[in-house]
């Protein structure tokens, strides 16, 4: 095989943690080929994606010249990175795609990888190549839709998703339709579309994904019981799903069951110290008076981000928001501007607004907040940011309205920020 098989390093160090299994299993290809057939446990069907990848590896052992299989393997690795939150699969994907030649399939794979790595301009270009070679490929349009959504080309994204739906109405296209509806504030249709995605879902990973998104749609609109139900149902299909575990932790926190929430988050960040989980964990600790432990998690978070940045894999959008929330005004604005120079989507507009606000530049912040809300997305965090900006501008009534909106949408949008929203609201009302 041309791509490197990664050694299962540090297994000994981590043997006490379940992580050892992940370290050993991440490079599933290490066992491809020579090994004798072993009985597969009945749980094999829980890992359809690994199975598909394994079959591709098998095939490529016999037929290393099969470019199409390399392309599929590359795209499958990107999907694995998503469902396992293990970015080592990106390097594997890249290695596989190097063997995939100059085909439409290879372009789909390259575009998928570029999107996953936040290189949305490159992804858009790959999508163009893929569509030229495979005009009936829903996946090629999916790459385009994902890139345009993140780049802020709303009309283009809508066309691409519609094309996908016209070519192949399935979990992939319904899920993107749901996101499109959600971004436009059409929550009911977003839920309907995701329900259809769930109906068409066949693998545990797809089922888990759809339940998580349905759970999020419920959680984001103050429907805790419905959210909890979706997270649980998702976990019944895929017991090790990290996103669903995070969902459960959020619900526990929202219901005031702090010990369970903290315990779940602790396990989660031990398993996958992703910036998002670290931040939520830290905020939950802080919101519950555990400042010292929170500080420790924030430190791990900064180190994580530094580590990633040193490897050229920075995520300016996420970093800007973290820095703003942590009061690092300079860093927040630097990162937000860096991202805004690349793309002008609602996600980045909100980060710009928030970063400008913590720098005291609220008049400019409001203009970005307008852009963030241009599509009509009912996003509690966006509303909170807007409320704080308006409050700083002395526009008390509008600030109250925005903060009420944030909490009405989702009183638990963040363990810490929702407290701040409530306090600010009380302050504004008291000052009236």
């Amino acid at each position: 095989m041309k791509y490197q098989v990664r050694q299962a390093v540090a297994v000994g160090l981590l043997a006490t943690a379940a992580l050892a299994y992940l370290a050993a299993s991440g490079p599933a290809d290490s066992r491809a080929g020579g090994a004798q057939p072993e009985p597969v446990p009945v749980v094999a069907q829980q890992n359809e994606m690994h199975r598909a990848v394994h079959q591709l590896q098998q095939r490529l052992h016999g037929l290393p010249e099969d470019k199409a299989s390399w392309a599929k393997l590359g795209a499958s690795y990107v999907e694995l990175a998503r469902v396992t939150a293990d970015p080592t699969y990106y390097a594997k994907a890249e290695g596989a795609l190097k063997n995939a030649g100059d085909t439409g399939l290879a372009a789909v794979g390259m575009g998928t990888l570029a999107n996953a790595r936040h290189d949305f301009h490159a992804a858009r270009d790959w999508a163009g190549k893929a569509i030229a070679a495979l005009p009936a490929s829903a996946e090629a349009y999916g790459v385009l839709a994902d890139a345009l959504t993140q780049l802020g080309d709303d009309a283009g994204a809508q066309d691409a998703v519609q094309k996908m739906l016209d070519l192949k109405p399935n979990t992939a296209s319904f899920a993107r339709a749901s996101y499109h509806f959600e971004l436009h504030g059409d929550v009911d249709r977003a839920r309907d579309a995701m329900t259809r995605a769930l109906t068409a879902a066949s693998t545990p990973e797809e089922i888990a994904f759809c339940h998580y998104r349905l759970g999020e749609l419920a959680f984001d609109h103050n429907r805790l019981d419905e959210a909890a139900q979706h997270y649980e149902q998702g976990l019944a299909a895929r017991g090790d799903d990290m996103a669903l575990t995070q969902g459960k932790a959020k619900v526990a926190a929202a219901r005031g069951d702090v010990p369970v929430a903290l315990d779940t988050y602790r396990k989660l960040v031990n398993r996958a110290p992703l910036p998002q989980y670290l931040q939520e964990y830290a905020e939950l600790l802080e919101a519950n008076g555990k400042a010292e432990e929170a500080a420790r998690e924030y430190d791990v978070l900064s180190e994580q981000q530094r580590l990633m940045e040193s490897q050229g894999a920075s995520d300016d959008l996420a970093a800007a928001l973290v820095a703003a929330d942590r009061g690092d005004a300079m860093q927040a604005l630097r990162r937000a501007e860096a991202e805004w120079s690349r793309r002008q989507s609602v996600f980045v507009a909100d980060a710009m607004a928030w970063a400008l606000h913590v720098n005291g530049r609220d008049a400019e912040a409001l203009a970005y907040s307008d852009r963030a809300n241009a599509l009509g997305w009912q996003n509690a965090t966006f509303s909170y940011h807007r409320g704080m900006i308006l409050a700083a501008l002395g526009r008390v009534a509008e600030a109250q309205e925005a903060l009420v909106q944030a909490l009405r949408l989702n009183a638990n949008f963040s363990p810490l920020q929702s407290l701040k929203a409530g306090r600010k609201l009380a302050e504004l009302r008291g000052g009236r």
Binding site: S25, Q45, A68, D86, A91, E205, F209, P273, D299, Q304
Partner: protein
């Protein structure tokens, strides 16, 4: 990696330790060149849709009732019959169509349309679809049920409801909760007024092949074949038996014995217009099947996605498709690897098999009148249009001693005259590609084919002909059946999830590339092509 120099004091020491731990975690988890897992929302891109993925189509004069014809369609392949909590549903928002073209214009004269709806009695109490032993289809312990309507739609727009609200046989849930599955299966057989019957539910997958044979043609060798890579799995089956005259042109099987059959499966789409109009979209054809192996062996690379969405009346206008039929890749591959000379010239014999049906009337090289609609007495030859579909001569009586190689072995009741459950379509397709249909001689060097010669278990002698589904027998790594402990759903979440990943990552799941191949119909739609 950067050092934690910003930290100091006691808190700093603790944090530094945490950082070291985190960094080690990173080394183990994310590798030294790892990027962050994405912070923007990502959705699955490559999603299969087995519920509407048609894996096989069969059409044959019923062996035990020669006045009737039986059509069998299979969907949702690769069902693990391990008695687990999986119910393999039919899609609710989909149309499952069998189309019949009896006048040769490549358009359906009759469409038999199945549509499904769920009856979910689970409420929110359980994820499981049974609650104890299920003795009958109306057993209260059967918590999740599916029902269907069957409608005949005629070319003139007339619609006739043939079956209303009939029950699907459930997915087999293991011998403990479904000790007598045959009883459930038999209860699910529905009589159609005016003659005929239907079964909708699970069956053992009758397709048999060593699917590696096609992978091996792309650079391997044939010495490894002989393993039925489909054995042990279930599929969702629709079997429908109708009086032959119901499908013949002018209902006259004597003047018009030949029909063409293809299935088309469509899922309803969505329209994006947030906050505005109705979100409901049109039905989109996502799977099409006539002759077996067409999209795998015949369709050109760039067309594999498109083929599943094409209608037969469009086929003749798609030059790449027609070119690939008369100039196929497979014989050239065989020649390059096995030194068996590929037949020369335009392969009009294959055009006859796949696109017109076997007839002398169109001056094809196969000198026989077998199964083309153009041979129907009431067909206007000028309106005949070449198209890919499975063609069947209804007047050829069932062969009491069927030959797996069908027409190529002189058994004209078999494929490519329709397709019986035990026809060895992989071996036939290879021989046909090598020119056996035109030459009348099998190519000896390839006579053994994939060395898998019969479905296992064998088809049943009477309706619905497909064998009972495997019930509680998981498929193991060799593609054979084995008894494996059954995990109830509650245990799945209790298992160490990471260990599950390991087990799968390190196991050889099946022999060879069969899973891939079998999934190819889906993957073709995903990617466009599997060939170089």
């Amino acid at each position: 990696m950067s050092s934690p120099h910003v930290l100091s004091g006691r808190r700093g020491q603790v944090a530094a330790a945490a950082l070291v731990a985190a960094t080690l975690l990173n080394a183990a988890l994310f590798g030294s060149n790892g990027a962050t897992a994405s912070s923007h929302r990502e959705a699955p891109l490559i999603a299969g849709d087995p519920a509407v993925d048609n894996t096989d189509l069969y059409a044959f004069v019923s062996p035990d009732n020669k006045d009737t014809v039986t059509l069998v369609g299979n969907w949702s392949g690769f069902q693990e019959p391990n008695g687990g909590p999986n119910f393999y549903p039919w899609a609710e928002d989909a149309q499952y169509d069998f189309n019949i073209d009896s006048d040769g214009d490549a358009k359906p004269d009759v469409t038999l349309r199945f549509m499904f709806h769920n009856e979910d009695r689970r409420k929110n109490y359980t994820f499981l679809y049974t609650n104890g032993v299920v003795h009958s289809l109306d057993d209260q312990n059967l918590l999740f049920r599916q029902r269907y309507d069957l409608e005949a739609i005629y070319q003139n727009g007339q619609r006739v409801k043939l079956v209303n609200n009939a029950q699907v046989a459930p997915s087999p849930n293991g011998p403990a909760s479904m000790p007598d599955f045959k009883k459930l299966r038999d209860q699910a057989i529905v009589q159609i007024p005016g003659g005929g019957k239907v079964y909708v539910g699970p069956a053992a997958d009758p397709f048999f092949a060593d699917l590696r044979v096609f992978d091996l043609l792309y650079g391997g060798n044939l010495s490894e074949v002989g393993q039925n890579t489909l054995r042990g799995y279930n599929v969702n089956t629709i079997a429908i038996q109708l009086p032959k005259h119901a499908l013949a042109l002018k209902n006259d099987i004597h003047r018009n014995p030949n029909i063409g059959i293809w299935s088309a499966t469509s899922r309803r789409s969505l329209k994006l217009s947030p906050g505005k109009a109705e979100a409901q979209g049109d039905f989109v054809q996502v799977s099409r099947l006539g002759n077996p192996l067409v999209n795998e062996v015949v369709s050109p690379a760039g067309l594999k996605d498109a083929f599943n969405g094409l209608r037969p009346d469009q086929d003749a206008g798609v030059k790449e498709l027609v070119d690939r039929v008369v100039n196929p890749e497979l014989p050239k591959l065989i020649e390059s690897i096995y030194k068996i000379p590929a037949p020369k010239g335009n392969r009009d014999d294959l055009a006859e098999i796949f696109l017109t049906g076997v007839t002398k009337k169109l001056n094809g090289p196969i000198k026989a009148d077998l199964n083309s609609q153009v041979n129907n007495a009431d067909v206007d030859q000028h309106r005949f249009r070449a198209s890919e579909m499975l063609r069947l001569n209804l007047m050829i009586d069932p062969n009491p001693k069927p030959n797996r190689l069908g027409v190529l072995a002189g058994d004209t009741q078999g494929f490519p005259n329709g397709r019986r459950l035990a026809d060895d379509v992989v071996d036939i397709a290879i021989q046909a590609m090598e020119g056996a249909a035109a030459s009348g001689k099998l190519v000896d060097a390839l006579a053994a084919g994939d060395k898998v010669d019969a479905p296992d278990p064998a088809p049943e002698a009477s309706f619905p002909y497909v064998a009972l589904p495997h019930n509680g027998m998981a498929v193991n790594s060799n593609g054979n059946s084995a008894t494996v402990a059954v995990n109830p759903v509650s245990n799945i979440s209790n298992l160490d999830p990471m260990a599950m990943t390991t087990a799968v990552g390190s196991a050889l799941v099946f022999g060879g590339g069969f899973f891939l191949w079998r999934k190819r119909q889906q993957q073709i739609r995903k990617y466009g092509s599997h060939s170089k």
